[in-house]
Symmetry: C2
Subunit: 261 residues, 2 copies
Amino acid sequence: MDQVFTTDPVVEGVHFLHGEIPERIGNKAVGRVLSDIAAMGARPQWLLVNVVAAPGTEMEYLEGIYVGMSALCSRFGATIIGGDLSKGAQLELHLFGTGLLPSGSALLRSGAKAGDSVCVTGVLGGSSAGKHLDFIPRVEEGIFLRETGLVNAMMDVSDGLATDLRHILAQSKVGADLDAEAIPVVDGLNAALYDGEDFELLLTTSDPGSLQAQWKDRFGSGLPLIGKITEEGGVLRLDGEVVESKAYEHFSNHNQGERNE
Amino acid sequence: MDQVFTTDPVVEGVHFLHGEIPERIGNKAVGRVLSDIAAMGARPQWLLVNVVAAPGTEMEYLEGIYVGMSALCSRFGATIIGGDLSKGAQLELHLFGTGLLPSGSALLRSGAKAGDSVCVTGVLGGSSAGKHLDFIPRVEEGIFLRETGLVNAMMDVSDGLATDLRHILAQSKVGADLDAEAIPVVDGLNAALYDGEDFELLLTTSDPGSLQAQWKDRFGSGLPLIGKITEEGGVLRLDGEVVESKAYEHFSNHNQGERNE
């Protein structure tokens, strides 16, 4: 077996607002890490949690976060095995997770091939309406997709479809042309492209017909085909028009406000 | 083989002061994690790092931290394989580390037996003079101690000898009587008992003679014997007098100031 590792921060004022329901914060923190693991097609295994909290934080509030974390872990057979607590100006959770999968089978961002179809596991753009707190990571879907042997590249959508697809394009040295009409959206196309934190899986396959049929058998729903991989290294197009890069930057000076809040 | 996991936060204003030399912060962050791994007798393997930084933090400063982290990793064959970056009010590093050791051989806090000798790998109490930033974790010493097969319980001293030894007493359901004269100190006995962040290894053995002889052969120095494990569950004595508990508490209301600064 191969072991995969990931780490993710969830910070007050960046990933959630002060006073958010603690169980939702816990769900998001664990969900992000499980989504990273799912994006490689791995099965989650162990988690560790560092908590930073302001002096005076109610223990009951921290317990609520643990309830949210534990509930999502249980659902997918993951176990929180440790962590640490420190004080700081704002509430933060830093999660570390491991996953397992058969040796050499991890799905990476670097496997997309010109001519592949681009698919996504669900509706994009709902993060500002609260999905970024309440989402269920696509763990079973990620494992299933790996097991089909039909997926060439995969990742999770955590920064918006346009931004994340560029990572696949860069690492696979290919381009893509998206079909605007085919992208399943809520809140419009712009939210789907740039809002981030959908935590759906984004993947490419050279056999979309077989993959969609197997997906339908397993999950009873469609696996939307939203575009094609092209030979134009690094170029992202939408209905043939070039899409310029527009990513959320934590340290930019022209930051338009907190992320997803 | 068994795999061990640990996580440790290093937070500005708690574990170091604003403006500290970045390489020292990096050394401390990695050192704490490697010390946790060493305390079980394991060999360090992988590390992941979450960084939280205030907007406007100089990239050069963060690079200095990575230089300090990488230098200590190299020394002990550990590798930083990933991490994440977020913004927040103060600079923080959250390190996650893994280590390896033969199956079932991890040294725990729960193995101390009445009649054991208590030993420590070096001088205690220098953390306020800067040792807490510049220390070298006892990785080789931890592995050596495990391999002797003579150690019953072990941990690293991160919160002061008195506080940390109580963890061994609680988990092993034993007591201890320390010999004040035998404790190797700098800055006096009080600093050794309560200052914390010495990152020496604290251990118990039922065969101190053989252990000290093997230690001398390997490292050319002494392994100070500083006390005895007793049958008095949870009771810590110093020259026969009971020592009351006095731990640093992150969330206490009667906090006497920042830790170790």
